[in-house]
C-alpha cells in the first residue's frame, strides 16, 4: 500500500502523470470559476448546466459520429448555454420560481440526455463505448490529448478571470454599485456565465455530470470560511480543488475499481465540512467559543457589578457577601451564579475565605467599578445627547456596559465633561 502511494507520487508512470495533471487542472480551473458562481448565489445553476451537458455530449456524438473531445465539449457547451437561457426565460416570463425552473430544466435536459444515450448505446454503434463515462467522469482514462485540451481551456478560464478580476468581483458582490460607476454589468455576467458553462463542460470529464456541481461550488464553500479577501478565497479554492483532484487520482490508482469522480467529491466535501466546523473565526467551533466567552464575560461582569452595588450601599468595598445577597441584588439562575463565583475566584477577582462568604479583591473591585461607571456614563450620554427620558436609559446601558472599550470610555468622559452624577443622581465612580 505504502509503496504504491510512493509510486504514485513519484509520477514515474506516464499515465499517472497525465491523469493527475488533467484532474488537477480541472479541479483548479472549475474551483476558480466556482468562487464567482458561489458568490453570485448561483450554486445550483451550475448543477443544472452540468446535467444539461449530457444531451449536448450525445448530440455532438450523433452529429459528428466522433468522440473527439472538442466535439463533445462543444456539444456540452451549447446545451449548457441553452439550459441557462431556458432557466432565465422561465423565471422571467412565468410565475414559476427560480428553484423550480432550475429543477425542471435540470431534470428534463438530463432525461433527454439519458434517452439519447440509451438510444445510441442500443443502436449498435461500436464507437459509442465510453460515452456513458460522462455520467460519472472518466478521469482514469484521460489521454495526453485530453490534457492538452483541458490545459488550454483551464488556461483560458484562469486568464479571463485574472483579466477581469476587479470588475468581476464588483459584479459578484454589488452589481448595483458596479452598474452605477459604469461597469458593463450585463457583459460581465455574460462572460461569467460563459466561463461557468465552459468550466462545467470540461469538468464533467473528471467527475461526470451528476457530481459536477460539487467541483464547482464545494471548494468555494470551503475557502469562504478561511478568508474575507476574494483573491485569497480564489487561491484557496484553487488549492482545495487541485488537491482533491490529485487525491481522487491517487485513490483510483491504488484501487482501480474505484471511481475517481465520486472520490474527488468526497475529498473536497470533507475539506468543506472541516472548514465549516474548525476554520478560525468563521468556523462553527470558533463562533461557538466566542459566544461562550462573551457569555462568561457578561456573567462575570454582572456579578462584579452586583458586588460593587452592594458595596456602594454600605460603603464598604471589601465586605464579605453571600451568594444569596448577590442573588437578591441581581437575580440569575443559581447554577450560573455558583459557576461564575468559582471562575471569578480562579481569576483572582474574588476571594472565598470560609463557606459561602465572598469578597472582592482589588482588581475585582476595579472591574466592578468600571462597569458601573460605563453604565452610568452611557445613561448620561443617552439622556443628554439622544434626549431619552431618564427612566428609559437603563436597559440600553445594561447591554452597552459589556461592550464599550477603554478608548470609547475616555471619549465619553471627555464628551460629557467629566460628569459626576448620572441621570438618576447617583455618583459616577472614577478610579483614583
Amino acid at each position: 500500500m505504502w509503496n504504491q502511494v510512493m509510486e504514485f507520487w513519484s509520477f514515474n508512470d506516464l499515465n499517472v502523470r497525465y491523469v493527475t495533471l488533467g484532474v488537477c487542472l480541472i479541479g483548479i480551473s472549475t474551483a476558480i470559476v466556482g468562487c464567482f458562481t458561489f458568490l453570485k448565489k448561483k450554486a445550483l445553476v451550475g448543477d443544472a448546466i452540468a446535467h444539461a451537458a449530457l444531451p449536448g455530449v450525445c448530440l455532438g456524438f450523433m452529429l459528428f459520429d466522433s468522440k473527439n473531445p472538442i466535439v463533445l465539449l462543444g456539444g456540452a457547451f451549447v446545451t449548457g448555454w441553452i439550459s441557462l437561457l431556458a432557466i432565465d426565460l422561465i423565471t422571467a416570463k412565468t410565475k414559476i420560481k427560480s428553484d423550480t425552473s432550475i429543477g425542471l430544466v435540470l431534470s428534463i435536459f438530463f432525461g433527454i440526455g439519458i434517452l439519447l444515450l440509451t438510444a445510441i448505446q442500443r443502436s449498435g454503434n461500436a464507437a459509442q463505448s465510453g460515452l456513458d463515462k460522462f455520467l460519472f467522469g472518466k478521469a482514469a482514462s484521460i489521454l495526453p490529448e485530453d490534457v492538452y485540451i483541458l490545459g488550454s481551456v483551464g488556461l483560458v478560464l484562469i486568464c479571463t478571470i485574472l483579466l477581469f478580476f476587479k470588475p468581476l468581483s464588483m459584479v459578484a458582490f454589488d452589481p448595483g454599485y458596479a452598474k452605477s460607476i459604469g461597469i458593463p454589468v450585463g457583459l460581465l455576467e455574460l462572460i461569467l456565465s460563459t466561463l461557468t458553462v465552459l468550466a462545467v463542460a470540461t469538468g464533467i470529464q473528471a467527475v461526470g455530470v451528476v457530481l459536477m456541481a460539487a467541483l464547482l461550488i464545494t471548494p468555494a464553500i470551503a475557502a469562504r470560511y478561511w478568508t474575507d479577501r476574494l483573491w485569497l478565497m480564489v487561491l484557496l479554492a484553487a488549492l482545495f480543488g487541485g488537491f482533491s483532484g490529485t487525491m481522487g487520482a491517487m485513490v483510483s490508482y491504488l484501487a482501480p475499481a474505484m471511481p475517481t469522480g465520486p472520490w474527488i467529491v468526497v475529498v473536497i466535501s470533507i475539506i468543506a465540512f472541516l472548514s465549516i466546523l474548525f476554520a478560525p473565526r468563521k468556523g462553527f467551533v470558533a463562533r461557538r467559543l466566542k459566544l461562550v466567552r462573551h457569555r462568561n464575560k457578561v456573567l462575570h461582569e454582572n456579578i462584579l457589578k452586583a458586588f460593587y452595588h452592594l458595596a456602594e450601599e454600605d460603603a464598604s468595598f471589601y465586605q464579605a457577601r453571600t451568594a444569596q445577597e448577590i442573588y437578591n441584588r441581581r437575580p440569575m439562575p443559581q447554577k450560573m451564579l455558583a459557576k461564575g463565583l468559582q471562575s471569578l475566584k480562579r481569576k483572582d477577582l474574588l476571594k472565598n475565605e470560609s463557606g459561602d462568604y465572598w469578597r472582592l479583591t482589588k482588581q475585582g473591585k476595579e472591574i466592578g467599578q468600571r462597569i458601573v461607571r460605563i453604565h452610568r456614563l452611557w445613561e448620561l450620554y443617552l439622556q443628554r445627547f439622544l434626549k431619552m427620558a431618564p427612566d428609559h436609559v437603563h436597559p440600553d446601558a445594561d447591554a452597552m456596559e459589556h461592550i464599550i472599550s477603554p478608548e470609547l470610555e475616555a471619549l465619553l468622559v471627555d464628551e460629557l465633561g467629566n460628569p459626576q452624577r448620572d441621570p438618576h443622581d447617583r455618583e459616577i465612580p472614577y478610579n483614583n
Binding site: 420560481k97 435540470l106 438530463f110 432525461g111 434517452l115 456541481a213 460539487a214 461550488i217
Partner: protein, 280 residues
C-alpha cells in the same frame, strides 16, 4: 401485456411524485426534492448490501430515513454552519450521492446494482418480476403492487392532510398561529418524498425522479391558480407522459424513463406557450 404493466408503473410513479411535487414547488423546495432524490442513494445501496432486495419494509424505511437525514443535514449546514441555502443543498447531496456511488463500486460483487440503474432505472424489467403465490397464482408485477400501495399512501396523506398542508404551504405564520405544526407537516412531506424516491428507484432511477417531482406540478402551476386543480392536472400530465414516453422510447429504442421525461418537457413547452401567449 407488458406494455400495459410498464405504462401502469410509469403512471403510478408519475402520479405519486406529481401529487407531492405540487406541494414541493409551492413551498419553493423543488431543489430539496432534487437533493433528497440524490441523497437516498447510499441508503438504497446499504439496503441492497444487507438484504439483496428493496422489498422488505424495514429497508424501505431505512433508505427513506436517509432522505430525511439529508434534509436535516442541509438545514444544519445552513443554520448552524452559516452556508448559504443553495450551496448547502449542493454540498450535501453531491457528498451523499458520491458515497452511494463509491459504495456501489466497492460492493459490485455482492449486489447487482449498476450506475445505469441509479440513473434511469429499468422500468422495462418491471413486467418480468412477477408476484406468483405458492399455489401458482400470478398476481402481476411486484413493482406495480408496491407503487400502488405508495400511491394510496400519498393520496391518503393528501386527502387527510389537505387542509394543514395547504395552510402550512401558503401561510405558515397563520398556520402556526392556529396551532398547526409546520415542522410536523414539513417532515411528513419530506418523509413522503423520500419514500417515493426510494420506491421509484427501480423503475425510474434516483435522478429522473426529480423530473416527475418537478415537471408535472410546474406544468399544472402554469395552467391553473387553484391547488385542487393543480393536483388533478399534474396527475393528468404524469399519465400522458407515461403513455407518450412508452411510445417515444419504442420509437427511439431508448430508456423509457428518459423518454417519459422528454415527453414532460414537450408538455411543459405547450404549457409555457399557453401561459405566455394565450392566457387572457
Amino acid at each position: 401485456m407488458s406494455a400495459f404493466w410498464i405504462i401502469l408503473t410509469g403512471s403510478l410513479v408519475a402520479a405519486s411524485c406529481g401529487l407531492l411535487g405540487c406541494f414541493l414547488i409551492l413551498r419553493r423546495m423543488a431543489m430539496i426534492g432534487d437533493a433528497i432524490s440524490h441523497a437516498v442513494l447510499p441508503g438504497i445501496v446499504i439496503a441492497y448490501i444487507f438484504t439483496h432486495s428493496l422489498d422488505s419494509l424495514p429497508m424501505i424505511l431505512g433508505a427513506t430515513s436517509v432522505g430525511l437525514l439529508a434534509t436535516f443535514l442541509i438545514e444544519l449546514v445552513h443554520q448552524k454552519g452559516k452556508v448559504q441555502a443553495d450551496a448547502a443543498i449542493g454540498l450535501i447531496f453531491t457528498f451523499l450521492f458520491s458515497c452511494g456511488v463509491i459504495l456501489i463500486s466497492s460492493w459490485t460483487k455482492h449486489i447487482d446494482l449498476d450506475a445505469d440503474c441509479v440513473l434511469h432505472g429499468e422500468i422495462a424489467m418491471v413486467p418480468f418480476e412477477l408476484w406468483i403465490t405458492e399455489s401458482g397464482l400470478n398476481l402481476g408485477p411486484i413493482a406495480v403492487w408496491k407503487l400502488s400501495i405508495l400511491f394510496l399512501i400519498v393520496v391518503g396523506l393528501i386527502y387527510v392532510g389537505y387542509r394543514p398542508l395547504r395552510l402550512t404551504t401558503f401561510d405558515p405564520q397563520y398556520a402556526a398561529a392556529i396551532g398547526v405544526s409546520t415542522g410536523f407537516w414539513h417532515y411528513l412531506l419530506m418523509g413522503a418524498v423520500s419514500m417515493t424516491t426510494v420506491l421509484s428507484f427501480e423503475s425510474v432511477g434516483a435522478i429522473l425522479v426529480v423530473a416527475f417531482l418537478v415537471a408535472p406540478p410546474a406544468i399544472a402551476y402554469l395552467l391553473t391558480e387553484r391547488l385542487d386543480h393543480m393536483l388533478l392536472i399534474s396527475l393528468l400530465a404524469g399519465l400522458i407522459s407515461a403513455v407518450g414516453g412508452y411510445a417515444l422510447a419504442a420509437a427511439l429504442e431508448g430508456a423509457i424513463a428518459g423518454a417519459m421525461t422528454a415527453v414532460l418537457g414537450i408538455e411543459f413547452i405547450f404549457a409555457y406557450c399557453y401561459y405566455v401567449y394565450l392566457r387572457k
